[in-house]
Symmetry: C3
Subunit: 212 residues, 3 copies
């Protein structure tokens, strides 16, 4: 029960962080306040909905109306405080990193607790973590952040999902462990943004000019 509650709290915070990233993008694109609410909702709930559809369960958000509170809050915050939010360095990316850190944990745990195998669980955690951001960017008609080769995006989430599988299998997953994993994922993502850490391209650059 306590684990359930902690999972819900992490999920709601993750939803809020991704929703903020969606509402900030909506503000940049000059969408209206309802467009902001939609883009925030899609970013905040999209990853979990994809996960739950694959797991064959009714998506959490449609079982528990609490999940719609963070997007409403995010849309209002961006509406009233966009000026302040903008003072932070790259707010969209920071909120997105927060959502990524929490969702790779809650997504993996949900899959494991429904009896999926470890590989599928880690992949579903990863899907939860990157899904909302991909949907946000696709409907806003831009190439998803996930595919930006100038920093690390999926790598921290992959690491986080794998860590959760290991901790769960070792029987030492709990609130403290979750906090540590979240800190590692968030830290790695933000540090990679700051220092421009990146991994090799899909293919050596000199060969990528032909079109078809």
């Amino acid at each position: 029960m306590a684990g359930m509650t902690i999972g819900l709290v992490l999920d709601l915070f993750g939803t809020f962080f991704f929703a903020m990233s969606g509402c900030i993008l909506a503000a940049r694109r000059k969408f209206d306040i309802i467009g902001s609410l939609f883009l925030g909702t899609l970013a905040g709930l999209g990853g979990g909905i994809i996960r739950d559809l694959i797991l064959g369960t009714v998506p959490s958000a449609f079982n528990n109306p609490l999940y719609f509170v963070p997007p409403v809050l995010a849309a209002l915050l961006v509406f009233f405080l966009f000026h302040s939010v903008q003072r932070f360095q790259r707010p969209l990316l920071i909120f997105d990193a927060g959502g990524l850190a929490l969702f790779c944990i809650t997504g993996t745990v949900k899959a494991l607790s429904l009896g999926m195998n470890p590989v599928a669980s880690a992949l579903l955690g990863l899907t939860t973590a990157v899904g909302g951001g991909v949907l946000r960017d696709v409907v806003a008609n831009r190439v998803p952040q996930l595919f930006n080769p100038d920093d690390l995006y999926a790598v921290p989430a992959m690491l986080g999902s794998a860590l959760v599988v290991v901790l769960w299998s070792a029987g030492i997953y709990g609130t403290a462990a979750a906090m540590c994993v979240a800190a590692v994922v968030f830290g790695l993502r933000v540090v990679s943004l700051h220092y421009g850490w990146h991994i090799p391209h899909a293919a050596p650059a000199r060969y990528t000019d032909r079109n078809d």
Copy 2:
């Protein structure tokens, strides 16, 4: 049974209206006739398929082949009568408005009759109403109509879904009520297009210049 039949009729008309919007967009983009059929099918059936996946039922369209008649009809009509269709003012938007008006009703009713709570039902009605149009615009690589800040798109559908929940809870939902709700939603959407009614932006415009 009569309610079932009326629901099916409304659903097929809604499918037809959205399919027309998809086929007209395909014609504008110079897709071929099969591309038109696909975009019409996606626009017409996409919203209902997302709703049914979330509800955990086999999508209506895959249980009842009748659902594929409207997209075929729309592709043929656009192929043979595009010149006439174009005479109407802004035909894509008008057909889209017709689909929006019917799907916010049928989507909400389906969710309610499968026992979802009122909030989730209204949200699923809204998802049905806007889903097909968002999929249509996303695969045609443009920012969805839903996010156009120059008129009202989601607001009429939200109002319609909420009205259906109220009428259903009050026990007075029926054909006449459905027709009234559809007229209100369609009317509000079209009037907002005509007069350029809109709601505030996601954030005050002067703060939306920074990029990241």
Copy 3:
């Protein structure tokens, strides 16, 4: 059991072909190696996941980790051998055609064997065949190959799905039949690319200038 094994083999090859198309596109877009793995995975597994969600079963890929081998292989091959891959004429389109040919078969067979009606089965086969490519192109922010009016894309897959339904109903579906259907679909797609075969536009070209 043998049929099951053949289905799995065809599915894995189809996954590999689509994954190659995704990884090649990732290389063209200068995504990094993990972005390549994601785009390959989405292209390779996306169509089957959509099909399985509609069928209401846990997606094959999440039941059997083998499905993730082809995308990993494709990302590595593109990374190490992109120069050689590029020597072939239009490699992205050829791999995509291979996936199309196999997935319209395996998708239709899976739907038929789960008891869907013939129309729905052919449509799910088609969805499996075109779904991964559409997701690949949508997240890479380009108009899907499916909508390119300069050659035939959906038509070969529709023919293939219909042929499988006919062969299955006649009780003569088997490995040999599957190979023949795959050859027909692949051949028709490649020949249409080579000769620029196409079908009529969604509407006569002279009427497609107005915007809204």
